[in-house]
Symmetry: C2
Subunit: 240 residues, 2 copies
């Protein structure tokens, strides 16, 4: 039995120019790992219509679930919703329930519900809204594509409301051993371990800090007993 798969699309020129450092990818990765959905790929694309449509079209066929962040605000560079509609070949217009949510919110706030803000009620035909308790403007799910905000606090709350609606897989268990030896000394024995436990994923992540160098060896798998067995063998190979 294999786990469901996912991909992420981070949308925004500000990430590709280096001005902003994305944090949504790491957040989503950790949350998906907890529920046993395998994040297979993540892409950062610019605020460009062809780039966004291309990434959605390619990835939604390749994995079970696609998550996007960014580009659903009120300004001229927020074009994600239109791109999703184009990718699915459906129309997009202001939707009553989203409009009502926003109208009530801005009335409570005493802010003008102007044309720019009304744009945030434009939802592709057939989508399901994703709640946004932080700043109200909803995300939406279109088939297997989950369209969420770029602002981390909003993205995270949307992820929290979407994930319980998805069928997860076996959560990935992992154990970690820190070995203070050069990766070159670790590599031979580790390769044998990886061959013997080919049902597990065994990774080596080197570090070099304060004059100490070595690697963290991470053993991952869905079967706890197998992960334990591999870790026992690993500890025998590299006694502390």
């Amino acid at each position: 039995m294999t786990n469901p798969t996912a991909a992420m699309i981070v949308i925004g020129d500000e990430i590709l120019s280096g001005r902003t450092r994305d944090s949504n990818m790491n957040h989503l990765a950790k949350e998906l790992t907890k529920v046993g959905i395998d994040l297979r790929e993540a892409r950062v694309v610019s605020d460009d219509r062809d780039a966004i449509i291309g990434a959605i079209t390619e990835l939604r066929d390749k994995v079970d679930h696609v998550f996007t962040s960014g580009g659903i605000g009120p300004t001229h560079d927020d074009i994600t919703a239109d791109c999703v509609a184009a990718a699915f070949g459906v129309s997009i217009d202001i939707r009553e329930d989203a409009y009502a949510l926003l109208a009530a919110h801005y009335e409570r706030q005493g802010s003008e519900f102007n044309a720019a803000r009304q744009r945030m009620a434009r939802i592709p035909d057939g989508a399901v809204l994703i709640e946004n308790p932080v700043s109200i403007a909803p995300g939406f799910a279109m088939d297997n594509v989950f369209v969420m905000a770029g602002v981390p606090a909003v993205f995270e709350t949307m992820v929290a409301s979407v994930l319980p609606t998805l069928t997860g897989g076996a959560p990935l268990l992992s154990q970690n051993l820190r070995v203070e030896r050069g990766e070159g000394d670790i590599a031979g024995p580790l390769s044998e371990l990886a061959s013997e436990f080919s049902d597990l994923s065994i990774g080596s992540y080197p570090f070099q800090k304060n004059g100490i160098y070595g690697a963290n060896i991470v053993i991952r798998g869905a079967d706890g007993a197998r992960v334990d067995a591999a870790m026992t063998r690993l500890c025998e190979m590299f006694p502390a």
Copy 2:
């Protein structure tokens, strides 16, 4: 005249599981912006042969320069060099100059130059080495694909030695105005500004912190006078 374009491929299961937060993408993005090379796309792919070969093959046709990070160490999960060779249809074997560098390094260190470490001298046929003053094991450039280490200190030094060899474009100039008003209030005037200065990139990046909310408006372009003119207009629209 348009700037040269680039893409990045971050290779590693540890990023997609959320265990490690990538920092190389943001570093490369900032460095490329300084020299006027446009980073068009970034991808994170797993330690999987098909995924790595697929990303290299697609992106090297799409942009001028492709930068990869990760997967060139001595352990069994380091498969990037083999994937690059396969993507280019060239052979890969231990190369004398890389072997000599590593042999001398491990002799100085008093470490065994074993089979795992010798693997790091395997370089695709026809590639040019990229120097690694930090831990010696070289990266390499194969045509327009620059293959670099995942450890940030090593990645950064490799970027520093590669970028001066590339022809840059006009460095992107940017100016930023912090506006403490809701994006919905900013959006209308900003859209007019973006239409008038369609040769510039004008982005709006909302924030919400300590009860204050608003957006940073960033105006980017290669022509300093135009960026100045747009910023002057923007300041008139939103006086402090």
